[in-house]
Structure formats: C-alpha cells, structure tokens
C-alpha cells in the first residue's frame, strides 16, 4: 500500500440528513425504458409520421407552368429573392439584416456565390443545347444581346405571361406579335428540361455517379413563390405556426414556440431585421434563464409563487414547513 494511502472519508452527503425510504434505481430506469417503449410503439403504430415528398421543378412545371416560367424569368433578370438577397449569396441588399451598424450577415460576406441567371437558367440549358439547335441559337442570341435589349424582351414576356396559354404537353403558347426575342424558345426549353426531372441536378452540376449531398443551390431555386404557395396549401406558413409543425396535423418542433411567437408580434413582425432581432432576443432570454441561480429576484420566483408546497405537500405535512 502506498505511504500516502489512507482510509478515505467521503464528503458529507446532503440527502443523508433526511429520513430515507427504499429506492431501486435500476428497476426504475428499466421500467421507464420499457414503459416508454410501449408508449412510442403505440404512437408509431397509431399515428405514423408525415412524409410529403419535396416540391420539385418537375411538379411545378406540370401543375403550374406559368409559375415555373416566372421563376425562370426572375432568375434570368436577377429579380428573384435570391438574386436580390445579399450575403451569403451575392452583394445585393434585398434581405440584408442589420441593427444600425451591427450586421453579422454583412460581416460574414459571400459564402455561397449564386449567379441566378447562369446557375439557374443558362448553364442548365447549355447542357442540352447540342441536342436542340434552336435552343443553342436562342441562348446565343440572349447572351450577345445588350442589357437594354434583354430588359425589353423580359418586360414584354412579363406583361403577357399572365395571359399565356399552355398546351396539354406543357408548351407555352404566346401571341406571335409579342416581341420577346429568344425568351419563347428559352422558356419552352426550360419547361421541357424541368419536366424531365433533371433541372435540379443540372443546377447543382451533378455530373457523375457519386452522391452529392449539398443541394443548397437547387433548394434555393424554388424557395420563394413556389415553396410558399405549396406551404400555404399545407397550412405551413409562419402565421399558421408552420415552421414548428410538420405537414398534416403532426407536431414539429413545438418547443420552439417562443422563438416562433416572436415573429408574430411587434416589433419583430414589421422589422426588416426580424430574424436578427429574434435570435438576439432568444440568446438574451436564454442566458438569463441559464444564469437564474445567480440573479436575485428571479431566483426567488419559485419561493414567492409557492408551487413547491404542492410538490412537497406530504413532506411538509409530516415534518412541517420551515422558512417557507
């Protein structure tokens, strides 16, 4: 035995000062696990879980071709929400959030550069131009046109698009007199590409057999109008608590109720920096709650409210209440 070994005295244990009753910790955890197993198995069998497939460009092209053409046009002319967003996608300011000069979004800079015209429209179509001479010519015409000419064509298409007709096979039919340059050919080729289901892969530049697990660019393609329209049909919008529920009537992250609630009330619901304000608020509130043991007043709330008297009523009845 080492010369420094000695009979250890365990430190005084607060619980040992009180009368004890039998307790079986292992039995308790075992029964808890078994009981919980019964509960979750019953819930899983009885209620299942949601699995609505992701919204795809193919689905939009088939069900709402006008919306897909609008999305394509917005991307091509840099008018989409992502094109105007700002960091981390580009240096615009449409969704740049700041509180005075405090803007972590701006400081972080561009981390996922997205050129909506090229990434969402021109590059995907260029992959198929060798199979479609008319498309190749149309893309060439668009890319060599001046900005002013492109704007004229885009504006004209924007005006007639709400009145466009779509054939049963999904082709956009416009009055021949409207001057939209190559946009008719481009838009119909785009619809055709979307209907194949290959648009997202083309956007993400998936060019081999290995798995591509970062689909940021293609996920952002439909993130504005298309996703919102679909979410609206599924009662998933923010004011329907959609971000803390799953599709159907399934609960989602209901424990984020406070975070979600802030978006619905002033001043958050009218602020252009709502996300930044909400996150800062949640951080502050969380820090206060974490540091509760050290905050006089707040840490006395349980004592003032007195709910503990109900929890420990049997103990107080038998042994009396001191300093309570």
């Amino acid at each position: 035995m080492s010369p420094r070994d000695e009979i250890l005295q365990t430190r005084s244990y607060p619980n040992d000062r009180f009368p004890q009753i039998p307790y079986d910790l292992i039995r308790e955890i075992t029964l808890a696990i078994l009981g919980m197993g019964v509960l979750v198995i019953v819930l899983a069998f009885g209620l299942s879980s949601p699995d609505v497939p992701a919204l795809t460009a193919k689905q939009v092209a088939q069900q709402d071709p006008e919306l897909l053409v609008q999305t394509e046009l917005n991307a091509l002319t840099y008018q989409s929400a992502i094109a105007q967003y700002g960091p981390p996608y580009n240096n615009q300011s449409g969704s740049l959030q700041a509180l005075g000069s405090f803007s972590p979004q701006k400081w972080a800079g561009i981390q996922f550069p997205i050129d909506t015209a090229n990434d969402y429209v021109l590059h995907p179509l260029s992959l198929f131009e060798s199979m479609n001479p008319a498309l190749k010519s149309a893309l060439n015409q668009w890319e060599h046109a001046s900005s002013h000419q492109q704007q004229v064509w885009a504006t004209n298409l924007q005006k007639v698009l709400p009145h466009a007709q779509f054939s049963s096979s999904g082709w956009m039919i416009l009055p021949p007199s409207v001057n939209i340059g190559p946009l008719g050919t481009i838009s119909n080729a785009y619809l055709e590409l979307a209907r194949t289901g290959l648009l997202e892969a083309a956007i993400d530049k998936v060019d081999g057999p290995t798995a591509v697990t970062n689909r940021t660019t293609s996920l952002l393609f439909l993130e504005n109008q298309a996703d919102t329209d679909y979410a609206s049909q599924l009662n998933m919008l923010g004011n329907e608590w959609g971000v803390i529920k799953e599709t159907g009537n399934y609960p989602g992250a209901v424990w984020l109720w406070f975070y979600s609630l802030l978006y619905q009330i002033p001043p958050y619901n009218t602020s252009s920096a709502a996300d930044l304000m909400v996150i800062l608020t949640v951080i502050v509130v969380t820090l206060i709650l974490i540091c509760l043991p050290f905050i006089p007043g707040l840490r006395d709330i349980p004592r003032w409210v007195g709910l503990y008297k109900v929890i420990w009523r049997r103990y107080y009845k038998k042994y009396g209440l001191k300093n309570g």
Binding site: T10, Y13, Y23, G252
Partner: protein
C-alpha cells in the same frame, strides 16, 4: 524526488471519485423521503425516451437515409423515432419546469441547472438537424425558412441548413455524442450533490428525524 512521491493522476482520480461519488451514492438503494413524488419521474422518463431515440435512430442509420421513404418497415422506425423525439421533449420540458418551481439550483447545484439548460439547447439543435435530414417537403420548407435566421447572424458558412450531408452527419454522430456526454455529466452531478431538499428544509434537520423510515448509516445513532 522518488517516483512514488510524484503526484499520481490515477490515484488522484480514484480518490476524487471515492470521496465525491462513492458507489452507494452512484447507485443508491434509498432516497430521501421527500423524493416520493411523481414529479421526480420526469427526468428518468426523458432519459428513457432518449434511449428509444437512439434505438430507432441506429436502425434508421443502418439502412440509410432513403430507407424510410421506400419501406413500410422503415417508415415505422421513422415513426418510432419521430414520437420518441416528441416524448423526449415533452418530459424534458416538464422536468425543466418542475426543477424551476422546486428551485433545484439551491445548495450548490447551479452546475446541475446549467448543464440541464445546455442539454436542452443541444437537444434543440440535434432535433433541428434531424428535421432537416428528412429529405422531404418538411425538411425543404424548414431549410429554406430557417436559412434566413442563420444568414442574419452570419453562420451559414459554418452551419448550412441546406447542406444535407452536413446536417445528417451532425445529427447522427456529433450531436448525439454531445447529448450523451451532457446527460452523463448532468446525472453524475445529481448523484454527487443529491436531490435538492424542500424549500425551507435547508437548515438543520435534527428535528425531522422521527425514527420512521430507513435512515442511512450516516444518520443512524
């Protein structure tokens, strides 16, 4: 200095454990009389739900993230995982509220309170990455909506909600390890400090010993 006289880390750790967490405190077979309430079950029920999250999650991981979309058995295990998570947070929040109303941070137990809150926060992030790993419209919608919050605080480059590979990897290994570690620390702190006594009973308890019930060896006369 002789080798035996240098500080011995192993012996130091063993002595610390033996002093602060002897086996009869780590695996007690008695509990203070005031712990006899259903309120005290919320913590162990939270852990029980976590066990089922791990069981169902491991099965889902073994068969890959696409399995549950194409297999009825896979869908059942996804449902099991889904409702285990709901149960986990349900009992955790009841446990959190109970500890608040009992002012459970008293008597030097502030670290138990703090680790409990860290557990809550890490669990929220773990669940969030799980919702983002579903590869369906729920994950698509949550991702495109949540990205604005991440972008606003400039962390998208580090934590990209739309990067399935990152979210899935964090969800199945990094964050569960963090949660498991925090649970272990949290539970060990409870065992080290004991269950907080009733408000008002913090003072000397010589007048509450009436001979009834089992008394621990330390309090026996």
């Amino acid at each position: 200095m002789r080798k035996s006289e240098r500080s011995n880390w192993t012996r130091g750790l063993r002595r610390w454990i033996e002093h602060n967490l002897p086996m009869n405190h780590l695996f007690p077979d008695t509990m203070p009389v005031y712990v006899d309430s259903y309120v005290y079950l919320f913590g162990v029920l939270t852990i029980a739900a976590f066990v089922w999250i791990i069981i169902s999650g491991v099965v889902l991981t073994i068969f890959g993230p696409q399995w549950w979309h194409v297999s009825p058995v896979g869908h059942f295990f996804n449902s099991l995982h889904f409702w285990s998570v709901q149960s986990f947070f349900f009992f955790m929040i009841l446990h959190l509220w109970a500890q608040f109303w009992m002012a459970a941070w008293r008597g030097g137990r502030h670290w138990t309170w703090i680790t409990g809150w860290l557990l809550f926060l890490v669990s929220i992030v773990t669940a969030f990455t799980g919702y983002l790993s579903q590869n369906n419209f729920d994950s698509q919608w949550i991702g495109v909506q949540g990205k604005d919050a991440m972008n606003s605080v400039g962390i998208s480059g580090f934590f990209n909600l739309l990067n399935f590979g990152q979210m899935y990897s964090l969800h199945i290994i990094v964050l569960p390890l963090c949660v498991t570690f925090l649970i272990a620390v949290h539970v060990l702190l409870v065992r080290i400090h004991g269950v907080v006594e009733p408000i008002g009973a913090e003072q000397s308890v010589s007048d509450v010993q009436d001979g009834s019930g089992i008394q621990s060896p330390e309090t026996k006369q």
